[in-house]
């Protein structure tokens, strides 16, 4: 036995350490393996239906054949419109919380409200959208009602990440600007926002991915099972109409449409997932770029 051999005690310790690491790694894998298994299965089942034509054609034969074009366009409508409402409000709310709010009871209440807004069940958002936008504001079942509901639902995402971004701008930057005689808003516009723009954009991108995938809030406010649009048109809907949406389409195909070939709902799920993942990947790339710039 060499002089540097580990004592039995040390060896027990090392064994314990690696056992612990192995156990926790196994737990993490329990979480990630289903992700890969699910994606692989979806792709496998979807393969027969997935092609370019599927993306750009309308559903035919009572949704048993054809593609997802009207649903894809509908989702783009809903996402764009909800973004146009939620992004400015969310960013300005984050500006208020980081730049203006002092630690008073009502600002603590606002923080609680942001947390709670993020936690309100999506079906309750749907009820709110139905009661407030469809009936009380008389927007009817329309793209407008659905996107406003989505906007309120996804705003906390933008607030949370914009806030992180604004907080990471060093306080000395603001002080330097104030010393030059700039006012509060001038400082925010010229110094704080430009320095936080990357993080804010990340939040906005994440909002897009959330909004694209939501089903419950649009189901009763503006999304329909089927709506024929002229093939190839880019702006087929107007704001007071109802529209199809990818998430809703997947729900309809898989639960309300008997006798549909399994490749079609699977392919719809793949298109929806691909959309969401692409958007998320954009956010991740952006974040990595910002970090790289920060390190330099």
């Amino acid at each position: 036995m060499s002089r540097f051999a580990a004592t039995p005690q040390t060896r027990t310790k090392l064994r314990q350490e690696s056992a612990a690491a192995g156990l926790f790694l196994a737990m993490l894998l329990c979480l990630l393996l289903p992700l890969f298994a699910m994606i692989a299965d979806l792709l496998w089942q979807a393969a027969p239906a997935l092609n370019w034509q599927f993306l750009i054609s309308s559903p035919t034969h009572g949704m048993r054949q054809g593609g997802v074009w009207p649903a894809l366009v509908g989702t783009l409508y809903l996402v764009t419109l909800s973004l146009a409402v939620a992004a400015p409000m969310g960013v300005l709310a984050a500006v208020y919380l980081t730049e203006y709010a002092r630690d008073t009871w009502y600002n603590r209440a606002i923080n609680m409200a942001v947390l709670n807004l993020a936690g309100v069940p999506s079906i309750v958002h749907a009820l709110f959208g139905l009661g407030a936008f469809v009936y009380a504001a008389q927007f009817g079942f329309s793209i407008l009602s659905a996107s406003l509901t989505l906007a309120i639902m996804t705003m906390p995402v933008i607030i949370a990440s914009s806030r992180q971004a604004l907080l990471s701008v060093p306080h000395s930057f603001r002080e330097a600007c104030w010393n030059l005689g700039a006012s509060r808003w001038q400082t925010i516009r010229a110094i704080v926002l430009p320095n936080a723009v990357g993080g804010i954009l990340t939040g906005i991108i994440l909002q897009v991915s959330r909004a694209a995938g939501e089903t419950a809030p649009i189901m009763f406010t503006g999304a329909v099972f089927y709506k024929a649009i002229a093939p190839g048109t880019l702006l087929p809907y107007s704001l007071d109409e109802q529209c199809m949406a990818l998430s809703m389409h997947l729900y309809t195909l898989s639960t309300q449409t008997p006798g549909v070939d399994p490749s079609i709902p699977n392919a719809t799920a793949v298109v929806l997932l691909a959309l969401v993942f692409l958007v998320n990947a954009a956010a991740i790339v952006l974040r990595t770029l910002i970090r790289a710039r920060g390190r330099r």
Binding site: L31, A113, N116, P121, L130, G213, T215, Y251
Partner: protein, 295 residues
């Protein structure tokens, strides 16, 4: 010119303040509007709050005797959520401990991106996977007759709430000062002892908040349980029973209920109930996080 600048500055600051308060306004607005639609029930003699909360008879469209009891759905919601949490909490904490304490920093970034991907999957896709993948697996490997049941819903909810639990729990662990780790290691503790005796107790408030927020998310989840738990309205007796949750009940019946009918109003009252439960859960989690931040 100068006047104009001052005026526009006042205007923009007013706008910022308004947006700042918007989250509060929205939360109140949600509560008010959902309550407003349910309000006429108060004057309705055919409806009793005690029946609503404590009866399992749900016959909203019966021609002879209508009953509006959601106890079976309350039981459904809590059984699915609790089963999901018994799976998700240990796994989520374990995964967070691995990411935060054991994992080398380079793979960690990749693993965290994967967890984020898991969080990004829309709930309707989870529901679809529940219908087509996990329900098949359940029928194949257990004695269950149908795959869309309590266990299936709980599996999906566990996978859906895991990313939240993992990322918040990891934040909580990272908030433990490095001095604690150094002190424990200097005393000769193994990493296992360090985790079990030092980190978990030190981060306990944050971990509880993480679990609560995951719980709140699971209670409110709609599409996955709508598609994958079956639709039997009764008190579940085993994990292979199909159940219906409060959220799924609203989503399944709101489309058929004529606007402003009693059925429609009862569905909104169910929404009020859900709002209050998730509000309580989230508020508790928020207060715990706040106390954590200010020692």
């Amino acid at each position: 010119m100068r006047r104009w600048h001052q005026l526009s500055e006042v205007a923009i600051e007013a706008l910022i303040r308004l947006c700042g308060f918007s989250a509060t306004i929205f939360v109140l607005g949600i509560f008010v509007f959902v309550c407003r639609e349910a309000w006429p029930l108060w004057h309705n003699d055919a409806f009793h709050l005690s029946e609503f909360l404590f009866s399992i008879q749900w016959y909203p469209t019966s021609a002879v005797s209508k009953h509006y009891g959601v106890l079976a759905m309350i039981a459904g919601t809590f059984s699915v959520t609790l089963l999901a949490m018994t799976m998700a909490v240990p796994l989520g904490l374990g995964a967070a401990i691995y990411l935060g304490e054991f994992c080398p920093s380079r793979p960690r970034e990749i693993l965290k991106v994967l967890v984020e991907m898991l969080a990004a999957i829309p709930s309707v896709v989870w529901g679809f996977a529940g219908l087509t993948i996990t329900s098949r697996l359940i029928v194949r490997y257990t004695s269950a007759d149908v795959g869309v049941n309590l266990l299936n819903g709980a599996l999906l909810l566990a996978l859906m709430s895991l990313p939240i639990i993992v990322s918040l729990a990891e934040d909580a662990l990272r908030a433990v000062p490095d001095e604690y780790r150094e002190a424990a290691l200097a005393l000769g503790a193994t990493r296992w002892q360090l985790t079990w005796r030092v980190l978990l107790p030190a981060a306990r408030h944050g971990l509880v908040a993480a679990v609560l927020l995951g719980f709140g998310r699971a209670i409110g989840e709609t599409m996955a349980v709508l598609m994958a738990t079956g639709h039997a309205i009764h008190l579940p007796t085993s994990v292979f029973d199909p159940v219906r949750t409060l959220t799924a009940n609203i989503a399944a019946e709101l489309g058929e209920a004529p606007a402003k009918s009693t059925h429609y109003q009862v569905l909104f009252l169910t929404g009020v109930l859900l709002f209050l439960v998730t509000f309580a859960v989230n508020l508790t989690a928020g207060l715990i996080i706040r106390r954590e931040r200010r020692p």
